[in-house]
């Protein structure tokens, strides 16, 4: 029986290998791409199963130890995020295989989708490999490398649609991404200067308040916040996510922003948690509140469906920053668990929404929200998927987001800083507002709807519904993911893994 480390290596090598093959043999992408997606899912499943059996692991690739080699650290948090990536990634891949098989557009562009497909699959697999690497890596420099690959492939994917708006958005995204990476790299360099080591588990024990450490933390955080599009640095996100192709939007909003978010959680919730004063957490908390309000208000004002979904991402990311002070205040691990539920639930729901929006766009020929009355008649499954995803985004029970908000509410009331909890509730109501704006058009009965004669493959409709239902029912099975977390606790104060300094 292969062990956890074997699967972890597979998770990086398999998508990377297939990405290269797809680059070289673009004729085979329609077979190799979905195949790679399934293999990824199997590897993720294998790793989860073996993790449940044997617990957290550190693995030095090729036997090279810290500080020279590449180290994997596999704990509950990484396993959950890998599992999330696998489920979302697999669904998006299925959707994409349907999406890129369509022949759409005017005659002279008949080959457009086939052309895009040849680039989509290698870039997406490369991105996937980088995400896996990021979630598994134990040290901050390797993470920089994976972060850079993630960013660049995401930018290229954004520009794939070829429209002027998309190219402009991708250009802006590229600049932001590079700026963020630079800032992060500076931070990493300073840390290395201070402590001579970049392994996160070791750093957590070494860090002490020092001017250089503060500067480096500020640089690291700024870079990551820029990439996560925290308000007020979110300006690049809505156009990029809204103008990309549908499967790309799903990947960007569902997974890519989670990469830098994950790092922020690791750094603020674990590595630097011992030295950071409580007051420092107020800043991300306050910015998170700003994101929740601003993102929701903007979403309420949008006329186009994909823009609305993109702004909702800005708002939803705010929750995870509101959770930061609560993680710090919390005596148990509820706040950690809550964030993880919010992240997983958002990944599923948001990808489902973008996928549904993509199908709606293809069928209706536009995505003006006010003109979507009656689309339920032609795309029943997709409309339903969108509404279900929206409801889980609102944090309705029994969705994963509900569990997250419930736990955070409890922590915030118990800690005395109840305003964070009230903010979450207000955020849910605002989310209900913008979801309703779309849902009331999707649910209304009005025949006939003027639709294009575009055929939408069932796989595109059902993959979106699958993810949406998963997000909605995540709360009912909340015990299982938490079991994983407890098996390999990322929480400060618990027993750390043995590391050779």
């Amino acid at each position: 029986m292969p062990d956890t480390a074997f699967w972890a290596v597979c998770l990086v090598v398999v998508p990377l290998f297939f990405a290269i093959i797809c680059f070289v043999r673009s004729a085979l992408v329609s077979i190799l791409g979905p195949l790679a997606a399934w293999l990824n899912a199997i590897a993720a499943l294998g790793m989860t199963v073996s993790f449940v059996h044997s617990g957290p692991v550190r693995y030095a690739i090729g036997g090279w130890q810290v500080p020279l080699g590449i180290n994997f650290r596999i704990d509950g948090l990484s396993v959950l995020l890998i599992a999330m990536t696998a489920v979302t990634g697999l669904s998006v891949s299925m959707y994409a295989s349907g999406y890129f098989s369509l022949r759409i557009g005017p005659a002279r562009e008949q080959g457009r989708h086939q052309h895009q497909r040849a680039y989509f699959w290698p870039l997406w697999l490369l991105l996937w490999a980088a995400l896996h690497g990021l979630f598994l890596s134990a040290d901050l420099f390797n993470i920089y490398v994976t972060l850079e690959i993630t960013g660049l492939s995401a930018v290229l994917l954004t520009s794939l649609s070829g429209k002027a708006a998309a190219r402009l958005a991708a250009m802006r995204y590229l600049l932001v991404s590079l700026l963020g990476s630079c800032s992060y790299l500076f931070g990493v360099a300073l840390l290395y200067r201070c402590y001579g080591i970049l392994d996160m588990a070791v750093l957590a024990r070494l860090v002490s308040p020092a001017p250089l450490m503060w500067v480096s933390l500020a640089l690291l955080t700024t870079g990551l916040v820029l990439k996560t599009a925290l308000f007020p640095l979110h300006f690049w996100l809505p156009p990029a996510h809204a103008n990309a192709l549908a499967p790309v939007s799903a990947i960007l909003s569902g997974l890519v922003v989670k990469a830098s978010l994950y790092l922020i959680l690791r750094l603020w919730g674990d590595v630097f948690a011992q030295v950071l004063p409580l007051a420092a957490y107020l800043l991300p908390g306050a910015l998170g509140c700003g994101a929740v309000l601003w993102g929701a208000v903007q979403a309420l004002l949008q006329k186009r469906l994909k823009m609305l979904i993109a702004y909702s991402t800005v708002a939803q990311l705010g929750y995870m920053f509101i959770a930061l002070p609560l993680i710090r205040l919390d005596h148990g691990s509820s706040a950690w668990e809550a964030v993880i539920f919010l992240i997983m639930s958002h990944a599923c729901a948001k990808s489902a929404m973008f996928m549904a929006a993509g199908s709606i766009f293809l069928k209706a020929g536009h995505d003006r929200i006010n003109d979507l009355d009656g689309i339920k008649e032609v795309l029943p499954v997709t409309s339903f998927a969108f509404v279900v995803a929206g409801v889980s985004l609102m944090g309705f029970p029994p969705s994963g987001a509900f569990i997250g908000k419930w736990l955070l509410l409890g922590v915030s009331l118990a800690s005395g800083q109840w305003w964070w909890g009230i903010m979450l509730v207000i955020g849910s109501l605002l989310a209900a507002g913008y979801v309703y704006r779309v849902a009331c058009h999707l649910l209304v009965f009005k025949a006939p709807f003027y639709a294009r004669r575009q055929f939408i493959p069932p796989v595109m409709e059902w993959s979106a519904l699958l993810l949406a239902v998963l997000a909605m029912l995540l709360g009912l099975f909340a015990g299982y993911p938490l079991g994983l977390l407890e098996a390999g606790s990322p929480f400060p104060g618990h027993a750390c893994l043995e590391v050779m300094p």
Binding site: P397, L409, G410, A414, V444, A478
Partner: protein, 499 residues
């Protein structure tokens, strides 16, 4: 899982699964859909009967499903749950029959009946919820599943009403969420049926408990249409008649009232709540709702609107009964949960019949209508007289016990409120009856056609109101029988207050 737990799960699934199948059936397959609807309603009723027999024999059914430590879904069958779930199931069966007749030939029935079934599942879930979190879950889901029913017609007016409805109920749900989370932080997981959770909270948190209580009332009061929060109810009238009937008799408004009963009885405990002086403000609020609702009802000319305001008023009887804090008043309040449901659904069925058969929506058009539709109007009259409180109808029994309870608790002003409200009820119901029975027709009706020659309207529209009207008389006449709602309520209250 034990057999009892399985029974509860079956009760839930018996309308959820048909609902999902209905979504999958094509729009045109009317017969399978009707069969599935009625069959599952009857099946659910049988299951509920099994549960009631079990409770009579002193058994207790429960099932639990842990999500996280501290978050547990629980279904449990205490007598109060049985009361509400029986009411929902019986009225669901009748309303389904009515809806099948009402929506004949209309488009988009698949969606209607799908959500209809799921809505009933959720309502029964509210009834059977064994702890506060489960209650919250179903309470929130009810908002979602009723929205498509309220906006079923898809007109501009219906959508506007739906928007108002969602704005009110979602905000109420958010307030309720805060209340539940706060209470759980103080008292730990709150189960129904055990010793009241609030009483176990340390004395220094009393102030917080008072705030939480009012958050509860604010959150639940939206659906219960307590007066400053009732704005959505009259607007929701645009829904098709069977939906209005179910909304006003069972599903939404009763969910709110049922929640208030749970909070007072099971979460705070009557004695403890009275000790914190929480019940007097609640009675005052309920009394205001009773009077204000009646006054608004007198002004409305639209029949359904008048009935809607009457609901605002009648629901508060239940809240009033619970908040007077005495066994007799509590009996009056709880039994009104059933009685009001029976009476109000009769009235709405009849209003739907008038609109569907003759296109009559306004009270001013109703002169002489009893000659054209005698059975419908007879049922309507029974319901209306019951609402006013004529013996031996159901409403009389409720008011009798409410009044006795108020006297026993030495609250003369409550008796006065009841008296004023009875006068007002008579003032807005009797003119309708006089017009319908004794005035000659003075304006043309638009016969909607396709009516059975022998009957005044389609039999599917006629049977439900006649049956419910019969029940209104029966539960009043047989109030002392062992199987009446009153007897059941006596058992509940007996457990609460001790022998």
């Amino acid at each position: 899982m034990n057999w009892g737990g399985l029974l509860l799960v079956m009760i839930m699934l018996s309308s959820l699964v048909p609902g999902l199948i209905i979504f999958a059936l094509p729009e045109k397959s009317v017969r399978p859909r009707t069969f599935l609807n009625l069959g599952s309603a009857v099946f659910k009723l049988l299951l509920i009967l099994v549960m009631i027999i079990g409770i009579y024999q002193g058994r207790h059914f429960a099932v639990r499903w842990q999500l996280l430590p501290g978050i547990e879904l629980a279904l449990s069958s205490d007598p109060l749950a049985a009361l509400f779930s029986t009411l929902s199931t019986v009225l669901w069966l009748l309303t389904t029959l009515y809806a099948v007749g009402y929506l004949e030939q209309s488009p988009n029935r698949r969606q209607f009946f799908g959500y209809f079934s799921i809505c009933v599942t959720v309502t029964v879930g509210i009834a059977l919820a064994g702890n506060l979190i489960t209650f919250l879950l179903f309470y929130e889901l009810l908002t979602l599943t009723t929205y498509p029913l309220v906006t079923h017609r898809g007109t501009r007016e219906a959508l506007a009403a739906g928007r108002v409805y969602l704005a009110y109920t979602l905000s109420g749900g958010a307030v309720l969420l805060v209340a539940v989370a706060w209470l759980q932080m103080l008292a730990g997981p709150v189960d129904f049926g055990g010793p009241p959770a609030a009483a176990s909270v340390a004395a220094e948190h009393k102030a917080q408990l008072i705030v939480i209580f009012f958050l509860f009332i604010a959150g639940l009061g939206v659906k219960a249409a307590l007066v400053p929060l009732h704005g959505w109810l009259p607007r929701a009238m645009v829904a098709p008649a069977p939906v209005s009937a179910l909304l006003h008799a069972v599903a939404v408004v009763k969910a709110g009232v049922f929640g208030i009963i749970r909070v007072v009885h099971d979460v705070y405990g009557i004695q403890y709540a009275a000790g914190l002086h929480l019940l007097l403000p609640l009675s005052i609020l309920a009394s205001l709702s009773i009077i204000y609702g009646s006054l608004c009802a007198m002004r409305a000319d639209d029949l359904k609107k008048r009935l809607a305001y009457s609901t605002v008023s009648q629901l508060s009887y239940i809240v009033l009964g619970v908040s007077v804090a005495g066994p007799l008043a509590a009996m009056g309040g709880l039994v009104h949960l059933v009685h009001q449901g029976l009476m109000k659904i009769t009235l709405f069925f009849c209003a739907g019949n008038l609109a569907e058969t003759l296109g009559v929506h306004r009270i001013s058009e109703m002169n002489g209508i009893a000659r054209r539709m005698p059975l419908t109007m007879a049922a309507f009259s029974v319901g209306a007289l019951g609402m006013i409180g004529f013996p031996p109808m159901a409403g009389f029994v409720s008011k009798w016990y409410l009044g006795m309870g108020a006297l026993a608790a030495d609250r003369m002003w409550v008796v006065a409120v009841l008296a004023v409200s009875t006068v007002l009820n008579a003032a807005y119901f009797l003119p309708i009856l006089i017009k319908a029975w004794f005035r000659p027709q003075d304006c043309p009706w638009s016969e909607q056609g396709a009516v059975d020659d022998r009957l005044e309207t389609r039999w599917m529209l006629l049977v439900p109101p006649v049956v419910t009207a019969f029940l209104v008389v029966a539960v009043g006449l047989l109030a002392n029988a062992q199987i009446s709602p009153l007897a059941w309520v006596k058992m509940i209250v007996g457990r609460e207050y001790g022998p």
